[in-house]
């Protein structure tokens, strides 16, 4: 199994490298360090969100409410910042993360306590969370001039030539890597995905672990809510609309099996970078931005085909926990 994982990440790295070289041939100067940092910075939020989604998908669930969660948490801190500019930004980050965590707890407890399929729960909360934004803000937008300078700067300050936004992503990636590979909680996430019945008999509480992954994805979405509003300097109902499926796409391209249990942190990061690269490279080589959607779609389909041929295992219907259901 391990060699298969390595394979996927190896090929994905190769494809990204080839794309970088191809783009550079078309437009010399693309390969500069500055540009690479820019692409990573652009992909930072996608990376963070994809990691949260990865944890959920590994347990055979799915969280479709991430983008709405992000938008709602972002709107809450945007409104707070506009009304009380004296509150320091780290506190706002904490508020955004807690809001996201609360929404994650709501999703997770419906899945755990009531046993409703996660796709149904998060389909419902996807519309609920986004609707609440409208009610909270009264349909108004929070515009650029409403934010304090430090609110905007907390994602832009550079350290060692790399913007803070990227540093947040790097730290979360490292933490996630340790969590998924070196802690029993992280390993139990894999165990559930690979074989729920076996996991149950080894004493892992399936519902509780799924609940935990929803808390993780919720908290990360909330944190990204602050990052998004700070980076794009706008709070509105439309923030990150439709982004939930892009996050799933990043996971799939990164080699996460939708049937659960298969996938790595490195793969997910590469998957997110792949999508980030496409959106950055297309304008450079003179392809109309209107092509971007079809190309991402094609990439997802190709990735699924490649994943399936390397992970020859029985496909499962929509995220069903076959066998054990605690």
């Amino acid at each position: 199994m391990r060699s298969i994982h390595r394979h996927h990440e190896f090929w994905l790295t190769l494809i990204i490298a080839l794309m970088v070289i191809g783009t550079t041939l078309r437009s010399p100067g693309f390969i500069s360090g500055q540009k690479m940092i820019e692409i990573f910075n652009d992909s930072s939020m996608l990376i963070i969100l994809a990691l949260g989604q990865m944890a959920v998908i590994l347990t055979r669930s799915i969280d479709l409410s991430m983008a709405s969660n992000l938008a709602l948490s972002g709107m809450i801190v945007a409104l707070i910042n506009a009304a009380y500019p004296e509150i320091p930004v780290p506190v706002l980050m904490l508020i955004a993360t807690s809001c996201g965590l609360l929404m994650g707890i709501f999703n997770g407890s419906l899945v755990w306590w009531l046993g409703i399929p996660s796709i149904v729960v998060t389909l419902g909360t996807l519309t609920i969370y986004r609707g609440i934004i409208f009610v909270l803000a009264g349909g108004k937008w929070v515009n650029a001039d409403a934010f304090t300078e430090s609110f905007i700067q907390y994602t832009r300050v550079e350290f060692l030539g790399i913007p803070a936004l990227s540093w947040y992503a790097i730290i979360i990636v490292l933490a996630f890597f340790i969590f998924m590979t070196r802690t029993s909680a992280g390993r139990s996430i894999y165990a559930i995905g690979i074989n729920p019945s076996a996991a149950l008999y080894t004493g892992i509480n399936i519902g509780k672990t799924q609940f935990m992954t929803f808390c993780i994805s919720g908290a990360l979405s909330g944190f990204c809510g602050y990052l998004w509003v700070s980076r794009y300097v706008i709070g509105s109902v439309e923030v990150a609309k439709g982004y939930e499926l892009i996050v799933v796409a990043a996971c799939v391209i990164g080699g996460i099996s939708i049937a659960g249990g298969v996938g790595t942190v490195v793969g997910t990061v590469l998957g997110a970078l792949f999508l980030g690269f496409i959106s950055n490279a297309l304008p450079v080589i003179g392809v109309s931005p209107f092509w971007q959607m079809a190309i991402s779609g094609g990439a997802i389909i190709l990735a699924v085909i490649i994943n399936a041929s390397s992970q020859k295992q029985g496909k499962r219907i929509i995220l069903k926990n076959r066998g054990a259901q605690s």
Binding site: I62, L64, L110, L114, G115, I116, P117, I119, V120, V121, L123, G124, T125, L126, T127, I128, R130, G131, I132, I133, F134, V135, G139, V237, G242, L245, V248, A249, V252, I258, A259, S288, F290, W291, Q292, M293, A294, I295, S296, G297, G298, A299, I300, I301, A303, V304, I305, A308, K315, R316, I317, I318, L319, K320
Partner: protein, 334 residues
């Protein structure tokens, strides 16, 4: 030694009466919700109970419901299609393209349906032929199909559909009964017969409950799933014709977000998202419920985005309530 008494088991001497089953079934629960909503609406707004406004209200859900029936069959068989809204966009765009080439109304309709079926067959080939998980495949084709629309149209729009073409989305068959509504009733009936009265329909349930057992019982699992993907494509093509005709123009962002609304309608209708159970009657009433909610709230000047809170909450509550009730019942027993 008295606790070693043989346990007494009660075995019911007859099946539950069909009437009792029908009364406590999911569709009847939905029907109660729908009637309650209807009465509530007529109290809330004086404009609600008029033939024309009720007729207008049907446009809110007929197009989505037409797809929802086919989607219900697909979900019962254990697969899902998230690309339906993108198929609408692509089908509508190709129709617009053919319009520029001077096609007439009947050819446009044919093109719309053909593109729909083709997209469905594409999904079906990937899922059935290559054995890929449908949820990811259709997330991919969702961007892919709509992406092609964006490539063709960019930030432009196709306008100027012929006058006869407008009939499908704007025409009335008799008095306030719109063509769309008649089509909706017809499609509902057709799918009811297909799912509940034919061999084909029974086989869909068998596949959803246990695809392996179905395979060994001689059900052509792959062929049926492929047909279902094509049917969903066909219905999306029909919805594309209706919507394009109603709006009179095509933009690549047409029907954005509909896939989730269609699935909400199906799940609300009592189709198990895990496959294997559900009824067309349920989906039929769920379509009305969603229509009533958005129309009733619309009359009260509630913005669309706030309505989505109600629909999302309804989806969760309607599914959670029976589970909670069951839990309480269990606790009372022990």
């Amino acid at each position: 030694m008295s606790d070693l008494k043989p346990q007494i088991r009660h075995i019911a001497d007859r099946l539950e009466s069909p009437l009792k089953l029908a009364v406590f079934s999911w569709p009847s629960l939905l029907l109660v919700v729908a009637v309650a909503l209807f009465i509530l609406n007529s109290f809330m707004s004086p404009y609600f109970l008029s033939a024309w406004s009720l007729s207008d209200a049907t446009f809110n859900f007929t197009e989505k419901a037409i797809i929802a029936f086919a989607m219900a069959l697909l979900i019962i068989s254990g697969e899902i299609d998230l690309s339906v809204a993108a198929i609408i966009a692509l089908s509508s765009t190709i129709m617009g393209l053919c319009l520029q080439l001077g096609f007439g109304t009947s050819e446009l309709v044919f093109v719309g349906l053909f593109v729909g079926v083709l997209c469905g067959a594409f999904n079906g080939t990937l899922v059935v032929g290559l054995g890929l998980p449908s949820i990811v495949v259709t997330i991919g084709t969702m961007s892919f199909f709509r992406g092609i629309s964006f490539i063709i149209l960019g930030d432009q729009a196709f306008n100027g559909y012929p006058a006869e073409f407008a009939f499908f989305g704007q025409g009335y068959v008799w008095w306030v009964i719109s063509f769309e509504f008649v089509l909706f009733l017809f499609v509902a009936l057709a799918y009811f017969v297909l799912l509940h009265k034919t061999n084909f329909g029974r086989q869909i349930f068998v596949i959803g409950n246990n695809a392996t057992a179905a395979q060994f019982s001689g059900v052509r699992v792959k062929r049926i799933k492929f047909i279902l993907f094509c049917l969903v494509g066909l219905m999306s093509g029909i919805a594309a014709i209706l919507l394009t005709s109603r709006l009179g123009s095509t933009r690549p962002s047409i029907a954005q977000g509909w896939e989730l609304e269609v699935i909400t309608m199906v799940v609300l209708g009592g189709i198990s998202i895990l496959g294997g159970s559900g009824t067309i009657q349920g989906v039929f009433i769920a379509a009305f419920i969603m229509g009533l909610i958005s129309f009733g709230l619309g009359l009260l000047n509630v913005p669309g985005i706030v309505m989505s809170i109600f629909i999302g909450a309804l989806l969760i509550i309607v599914i959670a309530l029976p589970i909670i009730a069951g839990k309480i019942k269990n606790r009372l027993k022990t």
